[in-house]
Amino acid sequence: MPTTQFSLDIRKLDNFAYDMSRCIKCKGCYWVEHTYMPGVRFSTRCPSNTWNDFDAYGAFGKMRIGLGIIEGKLKWTPKLLEIVYADPLCGACDVGCKRNLDLEIGLGLEAMRVKAVQDGAGPMPAHKKIAQNIAKNHNQFGAPHENRKKWLTSDIKVADKADVVYFVGCSASYVNPEIAQATAKILNATGTPFMLMKDEWCCGNTLFSVGMLDEARELAKRNIEAVKALGAKTVLTACAEGYRMWKVDYPKLLNIATSDLGFNVMHLVEFADEALKKGSLKLTKPVDVRLAYHDSCGISRLADPWTPYSGERGWMGMVNPRLKRRRGTTGLYAQPRNILKAIPGVTFVEMPRTRENSFCCGAGRGTKEAFPDLASFSAKHRLEEVREVGAEALVSACPWCKSNFAQAVKENGDKIRVMDIAELILASLQA
C-alpha cells in the first residue's frame, strides 16, 4: 500500500486529514474518561460542547468540519468562525482521544485556526484588537508598556545575574500583580536568586492560539533570544498559559524540540514542590481553609514537551518513524497537590473532575476576549463543582483562570474565594 508523507506542522491542515477521517464519534473528547466518570452531574469535560449542544461544537463535529474545509465543501461564514474559535483549546479532547485512538485532535483544531487566518477569514475581531495591542504596547491589554514592572515592590530582591529568569506575563504584570509579587517573594524566601527580563514583552499566547503564527513566531524568537542574552538556565513562570507557550508552542513555532530551547521551562508549582522536598521551602504558617484545586490546562494535559515530527503513514495507518504521542501524562498533576496538602490548616478536597479530566475555566487561548459568554459559562459551571464539594476557596495556578473565576464568582454573588497557588504558598510562608 502506498505511503503518504505528513508532519505535525499546523500550517498545513492536510497534515491532520487522517486524524479527522478516523474520528469515530466515541466522544472520548467530550465525556469525562469513563473510569473516572463521577456520575450524572459533571459528566463532560468539553467546555465548548457543554456550552453549545450541537455536535459541531465538540471535537467529533469539528473533525468532520475540518474535513469539509479541506475538501472545499465549507465556506468561511460567521457561524463557521464561531465553531472554530469558540473553544479554549484546553486539550481535554486531545487526551480523551488518546485514551484509545491516538488521533491528533488538538493539533487539528489549531490547524483549523491557522487555515482561517491563511484564508483571510480569521481571527475574530477581538483577537485582531489584541494583536494591535501587542504590536503597540507589547501586552495584550493595550496598557502602557512602561507600567509592566509596576507590580514590583521594594521588598522584592531581583538579581542582576542569576540562573533563573522569572517571566511574569501580561496578566500577572498588569491585572494580577499579587501573583507576581507572591511568586517573587517565594523565590526570595527560598534563597533562589532570579532575574527579570530586561524588557519583557507578551509571550504571544493569544496570537499563536488564534492562528496568527507569523506574529507569534516573531515574539517567540525575540523572547528566546532575550533569555539567551541573559544567560539564564531556567525560565520560571507562574502562568499556565505562559508555561505552555514557552515549553510547547515556542518549540512548535520554531520547529525545534523543547529540549533544544537551551534552557529549562519551569512553572512555580514545580519549583515549589522541589523546594519543599529539599527543605528550602518551609510552609509553617497555618492557613485555615477548605479548598479545591483547579488543574489549569497549560500545566496539566497540554504540558507534554514538544518534538517535531515528520514521517510517513502507511498500511493500517502505521507511522514511520515511531511517533511518541503527547498524551498529557507528564502534566503537573501531583506537584500542586503536594504543595497544598503540605500547608498546615488546609483541608484539601478534590472536585469530581480532576487532572486530565478537569473542566477548563474557559478563559484561555482567545476565548474570553471573543466569546465572553462561553468563558463565563465555563467558569460558572466549574464553580458548581466547588459548591458540590463544599470548598471555601478555589485555587488555580494561572492568572487567567483566577481572573475568570473571580469574575464569575462576582457575577454569581458567591462567597467562594478565588486564589492563585502562589498566594497560598506565600500566606503559609509569612510568620
Binding site: M1, M20, S21, R22, C23, I24, K25, C26, K27, G28, W31, E33, H34, T35, Y36, M37, P38, G39, V40, S43, D53, F54, D55, A56, Y57, G58, F60, G61, K62, M63, R64, I65, L67, G68, K73, L74, T77, K79, L80, I83, V95, G96, R99, N100, L101, D102, W315, M316, G317, M318, V319, R322, L323, R325, R327, G328, T329, G331, Y333, E356
Partner: protein, 537 residues
C-alpha cells in the same frame, strides 16, 4: 434545498431558535463518516447524507410535536442519540431532519425498588457510577460506556456480565415511545400510572416493538424515556486509578477478581463454561479474541502490530482462555467459596489460574469499545448471535473460514474465531465476530463479506441477530421467516404509513445493494421490481 420554510418555522416554534439549525457548518458536524462504526464502507458512502436541519428537543412532548410536524410536512427524520452507531444512525435521504436527543438527559434513581429512569441522552458510565454509589450495578453493553443507555438497550445491550445479569430486554421496565406519527405509547406499568417500576403492562408485551431481537435502528419511533432495572452489587466500590491512557478500576480484592485460565482445547473451554454455569458462580465468563490481549499491551498502533506480528495460525489455534470474573455479591466468604469451586472445575479440566492484575480495564465501568479502532482505524461487529454454548462456538469458526477469502482487505488475524461467552448462567452462548480493515484500501471485499456472512448463516443454519436493519431484508427475511420480511414491512406500514421515520430502514441495506454497482456481482436473491415504500429521492 433543505426543508420548507413553513416546516422549519413550525419546528423552531417548538424548541426555540437556539436549538434548531440549518447552517451548513452545524449540519456538517453531523456527518456520519468517514470514520466510525462501519468506517468508510460502501454503506456509509452510498447511504448517508448530511442532515438538512438539526433539532434538539428537551422533552417527550417536544419530540411528539416535532414528529407530528414531520408527518404534516412530509419531512423524513432520524432519531440520533450519540451518533456512535455509525452510518445506520445517521440521515439516509436528502432534506432530512436529524433529531438529536442529547438534551433528553433526565435521570432519576429509585434505590429502594432498584431501577433508574433515564432519558435518551443519558450514557452508561454515569448510570453505572450512580448505581455503584448505591450498591447496585448494570451491564455496560459492548457498544461502550459512551453509548446511550436507551439506544443500547433497544439494540444490543450485552457484555460478559450478561453471564449473570442476563439479556437486555429483561431489564427494560416502564418506557415511553413516540410512534412515527407522534402518538405516545407508554409501556409496562407506565401504561396505568406514573410509576415505571415494571416492564410488563396490560395487553401484549410491546418491548418487541422496540427492539425485536436487536432493534430496528430508529425506524419505528423514538424512545424518550426508559426505566432500567438495576441489580444488587457487592458493597465495596471499585476505585479509579492511573492517568489516561493507563487508567483502570482497582478492584476490592476480596470482593472482585478477574482470573484467566488457559485450557487445553476448545472442548474444554465450552465444558468449563457449562460447569461454571451449572455451579451458578461468577459474574462473567468469557473468551475474547487473542488480539485483544495485544491491544491491551500495546502503547500505540505500531506496538500492536509488533506484538500481533509475533502470533501465527498455530498460536491462535491453541489459544483457549477462559476469563472469569468473580464477584462476592453477598460476602467475602461467598467469593472465596466461588473461587474454590472454580479452581476445582478448572483443575479437573487440566487448567490452573494465571496471575492477573487486580484491576478492571474494561466491562465494569468502561466498556472500552473505542479501543477496537486502534489497530486498523476501521471496525464493525459483523454479526452476533445467541445460541446454545456448543452451537455458538462453531459459529465463530465458520466466520473465520469465510473471512480468509476476504483477507485482505480485512485485517490478518490468523483465523481467530472471534468472541465467545456464556450468557444467563450458561443457558445461552454468545458469539460475536469482529472485523477490522484500513478504510484507505479498496473496501469492496468488506462490503461483500458483510452480505456473504448472511448467506453463510443461512446455509449453515445459524441464527443471526442482524436480520433486518443490517442485511438485505429480501435476502434474510424469506430464509428466516419464510415471511419475516413481509411481517416486518407490514409493521412498518402500520405504524409509519408515510415512511417518514428513518427511511429507507428496514430496507436500507436492500437499497444499498441496488445503488452500489460493486454489489451486483454477489446479488443472487429475489427482490421486487419496486421496493414497497415511498420514494424519498
Amino acid at each position: 434545498m433543505g426543508i420548507s420554510k413553513k416546516a422549519y418555522s413550525a419546528l423552531e416554534s417548538i424548541v426555540g431558535s437556539k436549538y434548531i439549525s440549518d447552517d451548513p457548518a452545524v449540519c456538517e458536524g453531523y456527518r456520519s463518516g468517514p470514520g466510525g462504526y462501519e468506517s468508510g464502507l460502501g454503506y456509509e458512502r452510498v447511504m448517508t447524507k448530511i442532515p438538512a436541519v438539526v433539532v434538539l428537543p428537551r422533552t417527550t412532548e417536544e419530540v411528539q410535536r416535532i414528529v407530528r410536524i414531520c408527518n404534516r410536512y412530509s419531512v423524513p427524520y432520524v432519531p440520533y442519540s450519540t451518533g456512535f452507531y455509525g452510518p445506520r444512525s445517521h440521515c439516509h435521504v436528502e432534506n432530512e431532519l436529524l433529531i438529536d436527543m442529547k438534551r433528553l438527559n433526565d435521570f432519576e434513581i429509585d434505590e429502594k425498588h432498584m431501577f433508574a429512569v433515564v432519558g435518551t441522552g443519558v450514557i452508561y458510565s454515569p448510570l453505572q457510577e450512580e448505581a455503584m454509589k448505591r450498591g447496585m450495578y448494570v451491564i455496560i453493553g459492548g457498544g461502550g460506556a459512551q453509548a446511550s443507555v436507551v439506544a443500547n438497550l433497544i439494540g444490543d445491550g450485552w457484555s460478559p456480565l450478561s453471564h449473570r445479569i442476563g439479556l437486555p430486554h429483561r431489564r427494560i421496565l416502564g418506557t415511553e415511545l413516540v410512534l412515527p406519527d407522534g402518538e405516545l405509547v407508554k409501556m409496562g406499568s407506565l401504561a396505568v400510572g406514573d410509576d415505571p417500576f415494571w416492564g410488563d403492562g396490560p395487553g401484549p408485551d410491546l418491548r418487541g416493538l422496540l427492539r425485536g431481537f436487536t432493534g430496528l435502528r430508529g425506524c419505528l419511533g423514538i424512545v424518550t424515556k426508559m426505566a432500567v432495572k438495576l441489580l444488587p452489587f457487592q458493597p465495596e466500590k471499585p476505585m479509579p486509578t492511573g492517568i489516561a491512557p493507563n487508567t483502570a478500576l482497582a478492584l476490592p480484592e476480596k470482593r472482585m477478581k478477574w482470573i484467566n485460565y488457559q485450557v487445553p482445547n476448545k472442548a474444554a473451554q465450552v465444558k468449563a463454561m457449562f460447569e461454571i454455569s451449572k455451579a451458578e458462580i461468577a459474574g462473567a465468563v468469557t473468551k475474547v479474541p487473542l488480539f485483544w490481549r495485544s491491544i491491551a499491551k500495546a502503547e500505540c498502533k505500531e506496538d500492536f502490530w509488533d506484538l500481533w506480528g509475533k502470533e501465527s495460525e498455530e498460536t491462535v489455534k491453541n489459544f483457549h482462555i477462559v476469563r472469569v470474573l468473580l464477584i462476592g455479591f453477598t460476602s467475602e466468604e461467598q467469593m472465596k467459596y466461588d473461587e474454590n469451586v472454580l479452581n476445582d472445575i478448572m483443575a479437573e479440566l487440566g487448567s490452573q489460574p494465571r496471575a492477573t492484575k487486580p484491576s478492571d480495564e474494561s466491562w465494569i465501568k468502561n466498556a472500552d469499545s473505542a479501543g477496537m479502532w486502534l489497530m486498523c482505524g476501521s471496525y464493525v461487529s459483523v454479526d452476533y448471535i445467541i445460541e446454545t454454548l456448543s452451537h455458538a462456538t462453531q459459529h465463530g469458526e465458520f466466520y473465520a473460514d469465510l473471512k480468509k477469502k476476504y483477507t485482505p482487505p480485512l485485517m490478518p488475524d490468523y483465523g481467530d474465531p472471534g468472541w465467545f461467552q456464556s450468557f444467563e448462567l450458561g443457558h445461552q452462548g454468545y458469539s460475536e465476530f469482529l472485523v477490522y480493515w484500513d478504510q484507505d484500501e479498496d473496501t469492496t471485499g468488506v462490503d461483500h463479506f458483510y452480505v456473504e456472512t448472511s448467506k453463510m448463516n443461512i446455509k449453515n443454519r445459524f441464527y443471526t441477530s442482524l436480520l433486518g436493519p443490517h442485511q438485505p431484508l429480501y435476502l434474510t427475511g424469506p430464509m428466516y421467516g419464510p415471511n419475516y420480511h413481509q411481517w416486518l414491512l407490514k409493521v412498518k406500514d402500520e405504524f409509519d404509513p408515510l415512511w417518514v421515520c428513518h427511511p429507507p430502514t428496514p430496507l436500507a441495506h436492500d437499497v444499498f445493494v441496488e445503488k452500489a454497482e460493486w454489489m451486483k456481482s454477489i446479488k443472487d436473491w429475489e427482490v421486487p421490481k419496486k421496493f414497497p415504500m415511498p420514494k424519498w429521492e
